[in-house]
């Protein structure tokens, strides 16, 4: 632990703000700015395709498991849906090196606020926190490195859950009934748009198992047309990460449930 100077305790410049606590203790959690004009950036690992949908009684978030660097599959068991606290999920699409650290920072920030200020951070506060972290990534974004475009789902008693998509600069866009991000998101968006607008099948009428089954089908559809999106590989025990939030908080779909609900052709 940091040696404390005489008669000093770790001070906070802004009460409840974890990032300023780290800064006050000389801890730089974000990578230093790359400076001017990178001539050759590293081959970046990308992690893609996450979606979130509202269903009757909650919101569900799912993500594929593949991480790629160009045409190379780097990892097939990446977790792209991360609980930030008991009632908030973050789905990451983009560079996992940056995205996972952002998620870790947010998770710690929310807990730190709750414990130090003795009240839960509001949903608006959580949204602002994520925006600020994405904006802080701007120097790297300008170099075309470390792009992260997440989606966030949070529980609210009145609305039974809310969904937000973020662009890499931190602008947030609330989804009415779904949100999606990543290289496979175009396919998913098209299917959901058609379903909700022309087929007259509102997502909010789905029960939990129906929502999980739909999410698995959507990810399979995305995997069919996007090589950076991994599909289900039952033989290897690789299934998408599926979580949902309802009045009881964040819950995880076990593998047995995903096996039962996986699409069969």
């Amino acid at each position: 632990m940091k040696n404390l100077p005489f008669n000093a305790f770790p001070t906070q410049f802004r009460p409840g703000d974890f990032s300023s606590l780290l800064a006050a203790n000389g801890i730089d959690w974000q990578p230093p700015s790359p400076g001017q004009g990178l001539t050759a950036g590293p081959q970046q690992t990308q992690a893609t395709t996450v979606l979130a949908i509202k269903f009757a009684g909650g919101v569900l978030m799912a993500g594929d498991r593949r991480a790629t660097a160009g045409n190379v599959v780097v990892y097939d068991r990446a977790d792209k849906v991360l609980p930030l606290d008991d009632f908030t999920l973050l789905g990451i699409a983009g560079v996992p090196a940056f995205a996972w650290e952002m998620a870790r920072m947010l998770s710690h920030s929310f807990k730190y606020f709750r414990r130090s200020q003795l009240q839960e951070l509001s949903l608006e506060g959580k949204l602002r926190s994520l925006s600020a972290i994405l904006r802080g990534n701007l120097p790297w974004l300008m170099q075309g490195v470390g792009i992260v475009a997440p989606i966030l789902a949070s529980w609210e008693e009145a609305s039974q859950g809310r969904l937000f998509t973020y662009d890499p600069l931190g602008a947030e866009f609330e989804g009415v009934s779904y949100a999606t991000s990543g290289s496979g998101s175009g396919v998913i968006e098209a299917i959901l748009l058609h379903r909700t607008r022309y087929e007259g099948k509102p997502l909010q009428q789905l029960n939990r198992d129906g929502a999980i089954a739909l999410a698995l089908q959507l990810l399979e559809a995305a995997a069919d047309s996007d090589s950076a999106t991994g599909g289900i590989r039952a033989a290897a025990g690789i299934y998408p990460s599926v979580h949902w939030i309802d009045g009881l908080g964040v819950q995880t779909a076990p593998e047995s449930l995903l096996k039962k609900l996986q699409p069969t052709i």
Partner: protein, 276 residues
């Protein structure tokens, strides 16, 4: 008497060391006097985890520090608040820069809190911290639950249940050394197991708290009375003057990573209803 010149980095010793010792003694007396009327805090292991129990209507005394660490403090509310925030800051910095598993009570207390508190106590020209506290860490099992009391002078003491069943699965801080001694005597007699169910544990904690409060009120000529019926009567009498039961639970059964929760007043009433 000339000043003593010491190598660089060593704290300067005033030319009249007796005055420094006298100042420490005066500070200790001042703090003990301030703590005299405050409500004790009882920490107790149980089957489900750990509970921190106290009674206070004016200020909150039990807090969550980290995922498996809780804190109960008595003393000046502003000083309790500073210690609380320091513990939270240290725990979160460590948890973020290393990992959640690396945040342990021993590291927090031995390398963070106690050195700073001791230093503050020894600064004769600054106001001391008026507080006493219990820190509790939830273990994987009841046997690995850990308590630590941290005092205003930076001293600390760890209690834990040992694998062979020995050890003290409880910890108290009281307003006077005599009241603490009586509470510990009561708990040593009453706590037969580290696996009391929650209801039993709450009742034992309430009784221990009553013992602590009675010890302050009672004259030096009266003997302590640990009879259950008598404690129940005294508890009810004290409740008319001291309301606001506060209970923090480190609950192993919680699904979340954060194991702290505050017991509701309905829960507490339910536990104390069948006080034997």
């Amino acid at each position: 008497m000339p000043d003593i010149h010491l190598p660089q980095g060593v704290m300067h010793v005033p030319s009249e060391p007796f005055r420094w010792v006298q100042a420490m003694h005066n500070r200790r007396e001042y703090i003990l006097e301030r703590l005299r009327e405050d409500s004790p805090v009882v920490g107790l292991s149980c089957e489900r985890g750990i509970l921190l129990f106290t009674v206070s209507a004016q200020s909150r005394k039990n807090y969550e520090i980290y995922d498996r660490i809780a804190f109960g403090g008595m003393g000046h509310p502003a000083d309790v608040e500073r210690i609380r925030l320091m513990a939270i800051d240290l725990a979160h910095i460590e948890g973020f820069t290393r990992s959640v598993q690396d945040v342990t009570l021993r590291r927090l207390v031995n390398f963070g809190i106690c050195p700073a508190v001791k230093h503050a106590f020894e600064l004769v020209h600054e106001a001391p911290f008026v507080f006493r506290s219990i820190f509790a860490q939830l273990g994987e099992t009841s046997r690995s639950n850990l308590f630590c009391r941290v005092d205003f002078d930076g001293s600390s003491g760890f209690n834990m249940s040992c694998a062979d069943g020995s050890g003290q699965p409880y910890c108290v801080v009281g307003s006077t050394p005599a009241s603490e001694a009586e509470m510990l005597e009561f708990l040593a007699d009453r706590v037969r197991s580290i696996n009391h169910n929650l209801e039993e544990a709450v009742q034992i904690a309430a009784q221990a708290w009553t013992v602590g409060m009675e010890a302050i009120r009672r004259s030096a000529f009266e003997e302590p009375d640990f009879d259950a019926a008598s404690l129940k009567r005294k508890w009810k009498e004290l409740q008319t003057r001291h309301s606001g039961v506060q209970m923090m639970l480190l609950d192993r059964d919680l699904k979340s990573d954060c194991k702290c929760r505050i017991a509701t007043q309905d829960e507490i009433k339910g536990f104390l209803q069948n006080w034997k």
